[in-house]
Subunit: 577 residues, 2 copies
């Protein structure tokens, strides 16, 4: 491709509303253009990247035996009512009314549609297992779309759905998908990690997320270097302390903490480790009768609350944080100094397992500007009504498999696989006849990849001060030829066009910068858009039969004989000569 | 691909609501499944066809220098207000309100979005011309979706938009697109015709439609065997008669036509050719002050009204047919016997050019059960206030280029190219700086292909009593191997798998029917789904080293040596060995 026949539209500055580096770079490189909130056009340069990702996903899905189909984006309300998700999915689902006043949605996901197809088309166990997938534009009406293609409202997704006669068969396909996903991200040249995950709104049993590792990732991941344990921090279990609680050694006493509300500040004031402090978090949750109950959750001062774990506790599924008024009403104290000592019986105290094993700790005194020290369960306050794992794991925690300690990293979720089991099939009566002619409900799995999100995630992982650093497998072009003086030097033009044609013939995706721009402009553009290999052709080098080669990640260029450059690039791109 | 690992879901009967043969066959062959009104899932078998069509379209667009991008399906109302089309497009446009109560539409077309991109990205004449395209799911909320994918609400379209500094540049790209479209339909193996067309709601100047020829096509096309003239009948000009009007020869007289209202019946009763009769059609249209005016349009008895031509006449842009009450009010006569003689001055009489040249004709008498004969302009009634071409051409009319006579055929519109000129660019202020630094409005073209519609159109063109007859270029598989006794004969299984692998290695898209079904079941399925080449492998033939080969269009199978079959198929598919 010649740049003069292509459409490059790089910009010096990114719009100020772009927060993430990938969002800024995608706009500056002209990969995407904003149409509206959470709506982006993929420009020719960006679409090349997206299509390469799509092609790798498609190839690996086909190799894994999945069958591609294409379901409508617009789905009738009636199907979603069968599973009860029309109401549950909430305002993230874009609802549509057609000219005949019938209700539809712009599909955020396709469990209902594929299950409808399965119940109509699958009669016998002989047809199973089956794994269908599609690559399609989806829409989720995010309340605050941001981060460019990473959390756009309209996005491209690969979604697959498998159907089985047994859980064993589901587990087999689930494993095949796990391997296929690993191949996709490996082939795309991304550093990634598969982690155990929460199943969230999709439901079902087992679940893994695939994350592209990047410091800016929204998700925190916990993994064990000494074993293959890896999980989203949302899910990662914090093992309870193995040592029993020590006997009380200190007397209970009030300590003045005039401006100290955070545990770190209290610990600093008292000259103790923050691990000796306990913070209290107030929640409201309806009991079975629907009456709101006040809960006080206790965490060690350096730990953070894991809301997903909390929501799984009995009676706390619909919790919310208490307001300042509610806190004052139940504890007669403003936030910052609240604690579990001497509270009324209405207040349900739930302790994280770490806290339950602590003695002689420091906590809020339920009295403005005061904390308590030397606090002990059983002596100064009752044992908690519930002890549970309600915190996020931290670096150095024991791995839940007991085989080492946990490390933390951050990632961008780009894939998610679920064992749905019979959740949808049961609701929609998707059955088949087994070997004995008996009607059985199908087992199901579902498997998503955020195709457009991968592009953003790859840029979060690969960038530097000069712009995007794409892996070759998803770069818009694999090689750029910067022809200095293309518009005025016959020998440069001739050599550049010849090399361009040779590389194309060798199956290499090449962009010839024939715009006649100054070298600085060409280099800046080619680096910004992340092309992994660059060849500079100029009069001076050609006189010695040489060109300059530089990989996007190299510190400097090297002179290469013109006769060697095709071979060098073939080798660099692992292409056979 | 092995059938046991694929998903074939053929049906004996098509649902009764399917009207067109292509719709019936697509459902019976299991290419698509209905989700709702005008909403279809493309099943794996159908998607293979759709993707092949898509690939050919993409390749030819790329070869023609167009740049692929991908715009959002969901578009903000504000852009459509700039061109005034938010109101104009009507209920066919699916309007959406998001969670923030902002208005959007599910894009039925993308002129506004691409023009917005162009005005932001194109600054200088040096960047032009540019031709952008996308292949995308679109939505039109048809009031009565029908004919399966031929008039679905959700469908796949290729839409391209070009931008230019001059009309000459637009004409050049328009011609390149015309050639590219011709290549697409030629490569797909379809009989097609490009015709001059009306520009309709998209607007602009020149326009051509591409039609796949099929007797069931919705559009009537006129073409000249003796020249390259071809046009949609909507647009095809009817030349006025060359002979001058003859002088009156008959006296005006009333003739009784007790039950005869249609011209054919009146002519039969009177024993005259229908070409001697004139029919009157009553229309209402607002004048400049907005007052409805009554118009009487005169057509020769065997001619039909061309509403598109009528709407282009001064003062008739917003015409509608008159109601029976309106006809009675203005002519004091029920429909069936109305005519232009002795009408009040309020009635505007418009004659088709053919009628204007007639003398001694027969028309309604404005008196129930009576017609007039021997009617002549200038003697029995005034000359018409307007003479114009308001009829559809008929077989045998002189070609508008004067180079022969017209023939008629029917087609399914699958492509449409338009010279939009500055309609959108002006409305949205899409300008560039010319060589002299002056601001100029861009010229635009737009070019559509109904990708999913092509599949239906191809089946309308190619089918027989046994099912679909796909051209090889768009068949779901190019070759089917029917292995008789695959489940019980080792030599059949071995030979079938070997041939399957050889064909795959030769780059041929092959389906091995390894289901172990009876030959009749296999043959019926493979014929129904339209696979162009079939090889039957059975024990008996293998004993002689032979298989059976039959093209989908062959009357009978022929024995072929097993060693020759790959070569035969390569030759049949124009593939090099």
């Amino acid at each position: 491709m010649r740049a003069s026949q292509f459409f490059l539209a790089t910009q010096k500055e990114a719009p100020t509303e772009a927060e993430l580096i990938s969002h800024k770079l995608m706009l500056r490189a002209g990969l995407i253009k904003r149409l509206g909130s959470g709506l982006y056009s993929w420009m020719p340069l960006g679409l090349r990247v997206l299509r390469k990702v799509e092609a790798v996903v498609r190839e690996e899905m086909n190799k894994a035996g999945a069958l591609e189909l294409l379901m409508p984006a617009v789905q009738p309300k009636e199907l979603w009512e069968e599973t009860g998700r029309w109401a549950v999915f909430g305002p993230q689902m874009l609802k549509i009314r057609d000219r005949h006043e019938r209700d539809f949605c712009f599909g955020p996901t396709h469990e209902e549609v594929i299950t409808d197809i399965a119940r109509r088309e699958i009669r016998s166990y002989k047809q199973l297992p089956l794994n269908f997938y599609q690559i399609q534009t989806k829409f989720r009406d995010e309340i605050r779309p941001r981060f460019g293609v990473m959390r756009a409202r309209e996005f491209m997704m690969k979604d697959a759905y498998s159907f089985h006669t047994s859980f064993e068969s589901l587990e087999q396909t689930y494993d095949v998908m796990y391997q296929a996903y690993s191949k996709v991200f490996t082939r795309l040249g991304l550093k990634f990690r598969a982690v155990k995950a929460d199943t969230g709104a999709i439901g079902g049993d087992g679940s893994h997320e695939f994350h592209v590792l990047a410091d800016s990732g929204e998700d925190a991941l916990a993994y064990c270097e000494q074993s293959d344990y890896a999980a989203n921090v949302e899910l990662a279990e914090a093992l309870p302390p193995t040592a029993p609680r020590a006997a009380p050694a200190e007397a209970l006493r009030e300590v003045e903490t005039p401006r100290q509300t955070a545990c770190e500040d209290v610990a600093a004031l008292l000259g103790i480790p923050v691990q000796r402090t306990v913070k209290a978090i107030a929640l409201m949750a309806p009991d079975q009768a629907g009456t709101l109950q006040f809960h006080l959750l206790l965490l060690r001062g350096d730990h953070s609350l894991n809301e997903i774990k909390v929501a799984k506790l009995a009676g706390l599924a619909d919790f919310r944080f208490a307001s300042e008024d509610e806190i004052r009403a139940h504890l007669n104290c403003p936030p910052g100094f609240i604690g579990p000592v001497a509270v009324s019986e209405e207040v349900k105290v739930i302790a994280d397992a770490t806290v339950a094993a602590m003695s002689d700790f420091v906590c809020g005194a339920n009295k403005p500007k005061f904390h308590l020290a030397g606090v002990n369960f059983g002596r100064d306050l009752p044992e908690p009504v519930m002890v549970a794992d309600i915190r996020n794991v931290i670096e150095g925690d024991t791995s839940p498999d007991g085989k080492g300690t946990l490390s933390l990293c951050r990632g961008v979720e780009v894939g998610h696989i679920f064992q749905l089991r019979t959740k949808y099939a049961k609701a929609m009566n998707a059955t088949y006849l087994d070997e004995n002619g008996q009607t059985q409900v199908m087992e199901m799995g579902c498997y998503g990849i955020g195709v457009s999100r991968i592009v953003g995630a790859a840029i979060e992982q690969g960038n530097d001060a000069r712009g995007i650093v794409f892996p070759a497998a998803m770069a818009p072009f694999e090689v750029a030829i910067a022809a200095i003086g293309f518009d005025r030097s016959d020998i440069v033009r001739e050599a550049a066009l010849k090399l361009h044609d040779e590389l194309q013939t060798a199956g290499i995706d090449v962009l010839l910068d024939d715009r006649g721009e100054r070298p600085g402009v060409m280099f800046a553009d080619l680096e910004l858009i992340g092309i992994p290999h660059r060849v500079v052709i100029g009069d001076r080098g050609l006189q010695n039969g040489e060109v300059e080669y530089q990989a996007r990640t190299d510190a400097a260029a090297q002179a290469v004989a013109l006769t060697d450059i095709v071979g060098l690039l073939q080798k660099a791109l692992c292409r056979s000569a």
